[in-house]
Amino acid sequence: MSAFRKLLEKSWLVVALVLLWWFASASSTNVFFPPLSVILETLVRDLSSGLLLEYLAFSLTNLGLGLLFAIIIGIGLGLLIGEIRPLRDALDPYVSFARSIPQAALVPLIIGTFGLGPGPKIYTIAFACVFPILLNTIDGVRGIEPTIRRFGKVYRITPARYFRRVVLPGALPQIFAGIRVALPIGITVMVVSELYAANKGVGFYILNSSSTFQMAQTWAGAILVGVVGYFITLIFFRIERLPLRWYFKSGAMAQ
């Protein structure tokens, strides 16, 4: 009963909105707003034919690899910039400059430079995702208690060990916050990157259908991206609980 209630509390709005959409669009003849029933029919058709699944696999692989690069570079560089003062002073203007560039604007440029195939798409996703991770990592490192820094010095913790056992875990809550911000950016850029010079992928599916006036497919693709994004975020929240157990629990204790 209470589990059912919980589910109801969480999902009533979604259900209501879907129903509203369903009935409001039921008799639509507008080519841009096909009935939801038609959209879902298209979605199921293209999923079961395997076409969308193949596209999705292609897109998500790009997203995964792009994110992976962003995480490695963002954390690695962030730890160094955050911890090493001269490096921070030297690189700060460039970081601020680069983060202000609208990433989507660079998509045609990167793809134009690096050509077709998944490579440039992965670079684009990595470039867009690296900034929230980098900036949050730097903040996380800067936020480590000065007393902990002094402890490390007095107890002569070697620099390598200090990075691995003190700076990295200390900055981890912020690093995860950065990845959380990077996720939706990555998903957006994943789609946008396939609007140029692509012959497969979810973004291509959306663009191709809309330019051939298959609006049901456009909507189906958009819904699919939304749903997949939602589940990726959900999975991420589950994953981050594990290494950050101390953080959530100590925060709960402090309250």
Binding site: E145, T147, I148, K153, V154, Y155, L172, K249, S250
Partner: protein, 269 residues
């Protein structure tokens, strides 16, 4: 020939072991030009091995700065610092620091025993580290509690963990910066007695910075009074309450009251 050399070396080294920490004509200033803030001026102090000294003085006088100079965290503008007769320019392995904000000096992502064992990484294997950490926790009365996280413990317990960390590290000289300032009075008394007991048992040298004159008198062999701007040592007071002290009778000793009055007068009260 060989024995002669050995004999010679011991002779040279013998007096050396008696001095734990020495600062020699130390001055400290922060900033430059007109902004210069002179904190310490021509300060001299020698602390013997096994001695318990307290540094008292008005707040902002430079007690913590002096402690950081002892610890090798900062370098004095002028003068030299010696630890076990070695001139230091960085933290010395014999020195352990117990910080005032205990909750911020322990690593919240490590369990208590891992916190205590952490500075031993690279020096001992995993098993030995744990054994040493457990022994240290035992000696501060936290045996068997190593599995807890620091934030699951009370303030007093966390400060015990910080002390255990210094002991496991085999610090011979403990520098304590207002270590009991943020715990309640009861906890404070039991921590004072713990430190006093450990100091005697392990023959540690302790340098305690405190604003609490009673605490300084109760614990130390010698109380160093800092005053002035820039500050220097205005006087040192030997306490002679013996090795067996307790919170009630020692503090009721008339000599205790006299010493307290003297220090208060020196500090302009």
């Amino acid at each position: 020939m060989n024995t002669e050399i050995i004999a010679n070396t011991t002779e040279v080294r013998a007096p050396a072991t008696h001095t734990a920490v020495r600062v020699d004509h130390v001055s400290m200033a922060f900033g430059e030009g007109e902004q210069t803030n002179r904190v310490l001026a021509d300060l001299n102090l020698t602390v013997d091995q096994g001695e318990f000294i307290s540094i008292v003085g008005p707040s902002g006088v430079g007690k913590t700065t002096l402690l950081r100079i002892f610890s090798g965290l900062i370098q004095p503008t002028e003068g030299h610092v010696y630890v076990e007769n070695e001139r230091i320019r960085q933290p010395h392995p014999s020195i352990g620091v117990i910080f005032q904000d205990y909750s911020r000096s322990l690593l919240p992502w490590m369990t208590t025993i891992d916190n205590v064992a952490f500075p031993l990484e690279g020096r001992f294997g995993k098993k030995e580290r744990r054994e040493r950490a457990e022994a240290a926790l035992e000696s501060v009365g936290l045996g068997g509690q190593g599995g807890k996280y620091p934030w699951e413990m009370s303030g007093g317990m966390q400060q015990r963990v910080a002390i255990a960390r210094g002991l496991a590290y085999e610090a011979k000289i403990l520098l304590m910066d207002e270590p009991f300032a943020s715990v309640d009075a009861q906890t404070r008394f039991s921590l004072e007695d713990l430190v006093s007991d450990l100091q005697r048992r392990l023959n540690l040298t302790v340098i305690l910075v405190t604003h609490d004159i009673d605490e300084a008198l109760y614990l130390s062999d010698r109380v160093v009074v800092l005053a002035g701007k820039p500050a220097s040592v205005v006087t040192t007071i030997d306490t002679d309450f013996g090795d067996h002290r307790d919170q009630a009778s020692t503090k009721a000793d008339p000599r205790f009251g006299e010493a307290r009055t003297r220090i208060l007068e020196l500090l302009g009260h």
